[in-house]
Amino acid sequence: MATDIQISIVGSAGDGTIAAGDILRNALAGMGYKVISFDVYPPEIRGFGKCIARMRITTEQAYSLKHQSDVLVSLDDSHAIPHAGELRDCGALVYEQKSLVKLPEGGHMSAHVGPGQLPYPVPIRELSEKSTGANRSRNIVVLGFLAGLFNLPAEGFRKAIGKKFRNKAAAAEASEAAFKAGLDYAAKTFKLDDVTFGPPVSSVVAGATVEMINGNAAIARGALDAGIDTFFGYPITPATSIMERLAAEMPRRGGRLLQTEDEISAISAVVGAGFAGARAATSTSGPGLSLMAEMLGMGVIGEVPSVVFVSQRGGPSTGMPTKTEQSDLHMAVYGGHGDAPRIVVAPTNVDGCYRCAGKAFEMAEAYQTPVIVLIDLYLSNRYETVVFPARPPFEADLNRKPGKPAAGAPYKRYALAADHVSPRAIPGDKGNMHVVTGLEHNELGRPNDSAELHTAMSRKRHEKLKLALNHPDFTKFKRFGDEGPVDVGVISWGSNFGECLEAMLRARSEGIRCAAMKVVMLSPFPTEAVAAFMADCKEVLVPELNYQGQFANLLQAHVAKPVTRLNRVSGEPMKVEEILEEIRRLAGRGKTAQKAA
């Protein structure tokens, strides 16, 4: 029996909502299920804002979260009540049986259980207090209850709890007691919902490892596996945990990490380290990328390998720091003064984060330029089960080294080579002394602003990037679904592609001829492949999480074919149903199409 179950845990900051989600997804991934998960945090650093841990557990690969959950757990009714409608009929709604304080009418979850939903009021607080002497373990009580209700192996949960609290003996002991209390309570509970876990399916290749990991952690791991040795950064939501992970790991591997005073310092130091031959990177979000724009230009003109991980959030300005959005594409691709081309890649899932992070260092080095890896909060915080290969799939050194200098001949750092990539000497290389400047320069690197040189150097900086379109062992784009001519083609990018893929697959199951293409390489743009795909499509739909249709703009700058834009700025991932309805409409099916007719 195939498993496809979505669980949402909703609570207040301090309830342990995210921690419960973390343990649950790790336990389930450890059992062999595929998990895709996305947590929502409140924007306030302190206080009692809403937290949601939401995960989809499957035996077959899933690409996005579902619109409706099969199980909804409330750790705080005031936050969970607005989400009660997200639970499907015959799904399980677990909530605190009794409030501590008097509630007005409608203040308790029982008032919001839909007629088709199945209520499970559990004395969560009481069980926590009885088993541990405190109410802090309510989240773990709930995990015990879920394990019991769905007949999941308790050992898997115990392992995940043990791992979570491995350095906190008292918390581990309390959690064990709380888990058992929830488990025992479930044993006395009559199961009414139809949520059933089938056996997990393991398809792991020998030597590979499977891990439950989020986008930011995958970025950090990709960077480490690609041999990052220097990192400078300044914390910003939602990118901070990239730096935090690297801070824990890099010193153990002989690397260096420094938290700088701001983003300008961070990118300056990264460009400096790249110049010095390091595999160097920084991480930031939209506001930080704005500050880095000038120094990225320095990286471009100096042809210095440097990697910038950017996790987008709702903007502009401080905007919605804990909400997702894909509205920094224009800035990533075009931002900055002058003609400053750079490589921009946007992974579409957590595995892609790992691969893009590692490949970013290869490309930065191979094409001597800044590379931006563009993700967003949805991908930063999204957990997926990822299969890591036994050996990291990244090359250690792709720098084009200069040959032995000929006697008396000066080293041309910016030689106008046939493929536009010049041999790059690292400072200290004997006989290869050269100048690097932010000024336009000649082949030697010496300032020169002649029209001919500026034209030649501009061409060099742009043309060499096209090589990245053939960078080996790296997915720049990919087509899914029907081959050949289709009625509707969906093109998307970044975190939003999972929803697009799900929608396309569902549309196909409804008999609509359709296909989807993900575009990972945003700059340089894979025009030929995208144009070929669009030529196959009667209608082209471009869903994305921004108001302007930034990817659609990019697309139309390269391919002159009209597209239908689907833009949302809700701060939440796009709903599969919305995309599906648009596909139906474009295919002449469904309610909307009928209405229009």
Binding site: D89, Q97, K98, S99, L100, V101, K102, L103, P104, E105, G106, G107, H108, S110, A111, V113, G114, P115, G116, L118, P119, Y120, P121, F190, L192
Partner: protein, 349 residues
């Protein structure tokens, strides 16, 4: 505008036959009003008369629901499940739920029914018995009785005897430990009883008169390798079975109405229009005792037809009517031409 803040709020406690019928009638009569049902049950209204079907292999709760979920959405009837009422403040017109929520009502219909009564001398053995008053209890009981298993039925009211019919029909062995409540709620004379017991035996039920064995001394866990339960009688005889199921009639669920300002005897006392002594509070179903002018006493009326009619009448009167209660069914137990017992309380639609 429906469900607006100023709309009348009719609250019904209980989602059984009476409460559900009342909610439907209230919705019909007052399309703009808010109608809320409070119930302890995890499930929407299901017909408890259908529960014996669990022994015919029907275990999915969806098969027992009287209406699909959409019915409640379409009729704008809010069902608050798993909601235990802690108390009712009649003068303030508020209901306190055990989970600390307070609900205001304009009118209240108490249709909380009754729970299975267990005689005091058997109360200590409750954990070893399998009651049969709800869907979950029915499924739990069915789960412990194997095919052709043996059920020991204590008491044997008309709910139990209805189950006994199904058990015999499905080739289970049924031993009835008969007592004063065996034909509850029918009132049976000493002269009628032997014939009715004989009719039960003709139906395939083994009958032991509890009084003949000196009453039940204890109920125990069965011995290893034997059946799951042992019933010991005071005359030291014993009986082994797979499950022991108590059927001693119903006890009205009215404890939450103490202090509400309504008069209570065993059930809530109501006038022939089903109005209690509390302002704005009505009662219907197994929970209420209706004044009978003919009998000059308050009395209960049982059976699916009566209970449904009470729910309907109470709702009509809540909506402005003033009609008196007229029983909807015969109460006489009789023996059919096939020699088997026929009870009007087993009839339902």
């Amino acid at each position: 505008m429906a469900n607006a803040k100023n709309a009348r709020h009719h609250v019904v406690i209980g989602s059984g036959v009476a409460g559900s019928q009342a909610a439907e009638t209230l919705r019909e009569r007052e399309p703009e009003a808010r109608v809320t049902i409070l119930t302890l049950s995890s499930l929407l209204f299901y017909n408890r008369y259908d529960l014996p079907k669990v022994f015919r292999g029907h275990r999915d709760w969806r098969e027992f629901l009287a209406f699909p979920a959409e019915y409640y959405k379409d009729h704008r009837i809010v069902v608050r499940r798993c909601s235990r009422v802690a108390g009712v403040d009649g003068p303030r017109r508020t209901i306190a739920l055990e989970h600390k929520e307070e609900i205001r009502f304009d009118t209240l219909l108490v249709a909380s029914g009754g729970r299975g009564y267990i005689p005091e001398e058997l109360a200590e053995f409750r954990p070893l018995m399998h009651p049969f008053a709800s869907y979950t209890e029915a499924v739990s009981a069915a789960a412990v009785v194997p095919e052709r298993g043996h059920v020991i039925m204590l008491g044997g009211d008309m709910i139990g005897l209805d189950l006994a019919r199904t058990l015999v029909d499905t080739r289970h062995r049924v031993t009835l430990v008969a007592g004063p409540q065996t034909f509850w709620p029918h009132e049976v004379t000493d002269d009628e009883r032997p014939g009715l017991i004989a009719a039960l035996e003709k139906m395939g039920v083994e009958v032991i008169e509890s009084a003949d064995a000196g009453g039940i001394a204890s109920i125990e866990q069965g011995a290893r390798g034997l059946s799951a339960r042992r019933v010991l009688f005071k005359d030291r005889t014993e009986l082994y079975g797979d499950a022991v199921m108590p059927f001693f009639g119903l006890s009205p669920s009215v404890e939450f109405m103490l202090g509400s300002g309504t008069d209570i005897e065993r059930g809530l006392l109501v006038n022939p229009a089903l109005r209690t002594t509390g302002e704005g509070i009505w009662a219907a179903g197994d929970v209420c005792q209706i004044w009978s002018d003919a009998e000059k006493r308050y009395r209960f009326y049982y059976g699916w037809k009566n209970v449904r009619a009470m729910g309907d009448l109470a709702a009509r009167n809540i909506a402005g009517g003033d009609e008196p209660w007229v029983p909807a069914q015969d109460e006489k137990l009789h023996i059919g031409s096939d020699g088997k017992i026929q009870s009007p309380f087993w009839e339902y639609e």
